[in-house]
Symmetry: C2
Subunit: 73 residues, 2 copies
Amino acid sequence: MQSRPKITNNIRHLRFTSNEMSQNTLASKVGVTRQTIATIEKAKYYPTLELAFLIARVFNREISDVFKFEFEN
Amino acid sequence: MQSRPKITNNIRHLRFTSNEMSQNTLASKVGVTRQTIATIEKAKYYPTLELAFLIARVFNREISDVFKFEFEN
DNA sequence: ACATTATGTAAATAATTTTTAACATCTGGA
DNA sequence: TCCAGATGTTAAAAATTATTTACATAATGT
């Protein structure tokens, strides 16, 4: 993997529409630290496939509903 | 992330039904080395979300069609 | 005013993924 | 037979993701 296409996510929005779930609550549901959630929300780096699956499951969504890959062409 | 649930994939099957695409060809299409594809096919480790998206796109599939998360419970 | 909760951010370290290089076997075709 | 392509595997190094600790601000409620 070289270039680094953009992956956006709507975790923040999903948290607030899920009974205003805090970063902390989401973090413990998927077994990571709060900072990991915060950093992923801000898209400073991309989660592993495993973590992406876990997060999507918390919100009862598909990965592709939570994370959007921006294909440039 | 701690426990390590299982994620399986059908990359190998998709390669063969896609004009018998070799590991090498898939690797260069997504910009990684052949060894990375081989190791992911054997599920020795899980790809990043980014690589998962790229692989799914090569086969015109959704991530959830290529990778299956085994939820225990 | 004080305590608590939520969030932002940074730095060092740990863990995992990816690369590179090497060598192996197997198969098909020239 | 010989060569090339495809795949398996291993080991060390590089790159990326995740953890931990720490300190910061803002908002809310008592």
